[in-house]
Symmetry: C2
């Protein structure tokens, strides 16, 4: 696995953990963040090189600061 | 100014402050991060919705954690 993919996958896993802790389905998180349902699944599988604005939307949806969303074990 | 642009601009300004504190030119930061020189300028002007992998490259170049790079006043 190349290191870029590994990094995106570790972010995806942290996103998934956070979503599950909040009892949110991928559909619900997507709807609240204004993102497409399949995009959340792809993010969690490390298939998307997510943008800063989408990261901000996700952080806002979780009610946390952007830097908290990006404080994960890569 | 729409809020997305304002957010990207505040990130750009924090990036610029960090670069200047390290006495790095845009060219030098770009070369060390493996990014194009003009991309750094556009980022600092809030013209780019930067990706997670490029954020990681910038954080690595500054020798800081990703969440530190994204801990700025939006």
């Amino acid at each position: 696995m190349n290191s870029d993919f590994e990094f995106l996958l570790s972010f995806g896993k942290s996103l998934r953990d956070r979503r599950i802790k909040k009892n949110l389905s991928q559909e619900k998180l997507a709807a609240e963040a204004g993102l497409h349902r399949t995009y959340i699944g792809a993010l969690e599988r490390g298939e998307k090189n997510v943008s800063l604005l989408n990261l901000k939307r996700l952080a806002d949806t979780f009610g946390i600061e952007l830097h908290e969303l990006l404080n994960f074990n890569a």
